[in-house]
């Protein structure tokens, strides 16, 4: 079977700083994969390369292919990058909605690759197309907010609108770059649930970068762990024990193992908690008994 995402020898430097160090990986269609790592490990950089929002180093043999179509190769974007991007939905940490436009119009942006330039520029969408947008908003549970300006929504609602945009896009691959890093616990849980639902119902491939390993284990069967631009682990999320993470990350492990309030809340609501520790830490113990 053809992989949904194939990354070969991806090299990216910012100045003298190596952000990605010859990353090679494959993700099959319908997988839900977590990308974890401490801040600065290259998670966002990798995702932005997959979406063709930045290009790899010019003199490298870097290549990114999504569903058989080249996104970039050798540090150059594909000529037909716009139609390639149309298949790739991106969800950003800061939502990246246009605050002054109504929610429904933001969601209709997902149609842009399928309508003519004139219709796109003047936001002329058909009634049937608006129905698609409304349906997507209903699906993420904010259907009644359609006419409101995007800036009037809470962070969690804005992120759900951003997900609705990828639904209208009919994206086969959804890339979520730290989608819950700016959200409160309850919103974080809902956003992760929606991503999991889309993955399950639409059979779309979802890659989500996360700061905390617990969320990765709960929602994603497979985890790819980055450390300073290198893939240091790629396998079933259940294998990620604290011992292994300390092995992989040394002192940095504390950052991704940290259990801030909203992560423990995520765990509290878990019906089938995946065993994370052989000897649970006090925080998870409290969460499980609580």
């Amino acid at each position: 079977m053809q992989p949904a995402i194939r990354v070969t020898n991806l090299v990216k430097s910012f100045g003298n700083q190596r952000a990605l160090n010859s990353v090679t990986l494959e993700i099959m269609p319908g997988e839900m994969v977590a990308l974890i790592g401490a801040s600065g490990s290259g998670k966002s950089t990798l995702l932005r390369h997959l979406a063709g929002l930045i290009v790899a180093d010019k003199d490298s043999a870097s290549e990114v292919v999504v569903h058989g179509r080249t996104v970039q190769s050798g540090g150059r974007l594909a000529r037909d990058i716009r139609s390639v991007r149309a298949n790739i939905g991106v969800v950003f940490q800061q939502f990246n909605l246009v605050g002054r436009l109504p929610v429904i119009t933001n969601v209709m942006a997902g149609m842009l690759s399928r309508v003519s330039l004139i219709r796109g520029m003047f936001r002329l969408f058909l009634h049937s197309e608006y129905l698609l947008g409304q349906e997507a908003l209903n699906r993420v549970g904010i259907g009644e907010r359609a006419a409101q300006r995007a800036s009037t929504l809470s962070g969690g609602q804005q992120q759900r609108a951003a997900i609705a945009r990828t639904l209208v896009q009919r994206a086969k691959v959804v890339l979520a770059d730290e989608p819950i890093a700016s959200l409160d616990p309850e919103s974080s849980r809902r956003v992760m649930e929606i991503l999991a639902t889309i993955h399950r119902e639409d059979r779309s491939t979802v890659v989500v970068s996360l700061h905390q390993v617990n969320v990765a284990i709960k929602y994603c069967p497979r985890t790819i762990a980055l450390r300073r631009g290198d893939v240091v682990f790629d396998g079933p999320s259940t294998q990620l024990t604290p011992a292994l993470l300390r092995d992989l990350y040394g002192a940095e492990a504390d950052e991704i193992l940290a259990l801030p309030d909203h992560i423990s809340l995520l765990q509290e609501r878990t019906d089938n908690v995946v065993p994370l520790h052989s000897q649970p830490s006090p925080a998870t113990q409290a969460a499980q008994t609580g």
């Binding site: 979406a51 929002l53 716009r82 139609s83 390639v84 991007r85 149309a86 298949n87 790739i88 939905g89 991106v90 950003f92 800061q94 939502f95 990246n96 909605l97 246009v98 605050g99 002054r100 436009l101 119009t105 942006a109 997902g110 842009l112 690759s113 330039l117 796109g120 520029m121 003047f122 936001r123 951003a162 945009r165 896009q169």
Partner: protein, 264 residues
């Protein structure tokens, strides 16, 4: 013995620095050097004060006999300002986008900016004189003059607004596979719209003032009438015209300021 140790080395505010003194010295020297060239004769204000009082007295009472004619010419001036601003607005949208360094490469935005600079550097009056020669006396020359000059200012202001946008929403649109122009229509224009509206209203306001002046070189409107009565020493009529201009400009300023408050 005091419990608080006496301060031995207090931090005094910095003295007036030598640099500040030099700057003031420079300003005074510049004023002195310009005295001769500017033909400054303040003493004559005193000596001829009786003449001036007589001259000022000629203005009163204002003569509003021809008020219908004055008002219709004032209306022409307003119409010149409206069309000059409208044409400038239409041109400033594409030019402002092209002059934005975050949207276009340097070899596009630099030349466009230079063109805008020259439109802006030359005063409306100069353009009006040139257009009077080109299209003849009358309001149309005034419209063209305002159009060119206002495009220079408005497009520059528009591009500054575009350069200050938040790039994240634009990236969000780009990620959907949208075209460059769709990125602008969806991601850029909604962000700059309030500022653009406000700038346009401000220019309309400024153009009502300018339009009364460009008339003086023959480009139509109340300026033409004003120039004729001044040259004919009809001071009572001049006073009436000035009152009409002041009231109209104040009125437009007030309305436009109100509208701008709504947008920003």
């Amino acid at each position: 013995m005091s419990s608080i140790a006496p301060a031995t080395n207090p931090q005094l505010p910095p003295r007036v620095s030598l640099l500040t003194l030099l700057i003031w010295g420079g300003v005074l020297a510049l004023l002195a050097a310009s005295w001769q060239g500017a033909d400054m004769r303040p003493a004559e204000l005193w000596r001829d004060s009786s003449n001036m009082a007589k001259f000022a007295a000629d203005f009163f009472p204002p003569n509003f006999t021809n008020w219908r004619f004055y008002l219709s010419e004032m209306l022409v001036t307003l119409q010149i300002a409206i069309w000059g601003t409208a044409l400038a607005l239409v041109c400033s949208i594409p030019l402002g986008l092209l002059a934005s360094s975050n949207l276009t490469p340097w070899w596009i935005h630099q030349p466009v900016r230079r063109v805008l600079d020259s439109c802006r550097a030359i005063n409306e009056m100069v353009f009006a004189m040139l257009f009077v020669v080109a299209v003849g006396l009358g309001p149309f020359a005034g419209v063209l003059a305002l159009w060119v000059h206002t495009t220079g200012t408005l497009a520059k202001l528009f591009s500054e607004a575009v350069e200050a946008i938040d790039p994240q929403p634009v990236e969000g649109i780009r990620a959907t596979g949208a075209n460059n122009l769709e990125e602008i229509a969806f991601g850029v224009i909604p962000q700059v719209m309030p500022l653009w509206m406000s700038y346009t209203l401000y220019r309309l306001e400024a153009n009502v003032r300018s339009a009364s002046v460009v008339g003086m070189v023959g480009a139509g409107g109340i300026g033409v009438v004003l120039w004729e009565v001044i040259r004919g020493f009809y001071y009572a009529e001049t006073c009436a015209l000035l009152i009409i201009i002041v009231l109209t400009v104040t009125g437009i300023d007030t309305i436009s300021a109100r509208l701008r408050k709504i947008f920003v």
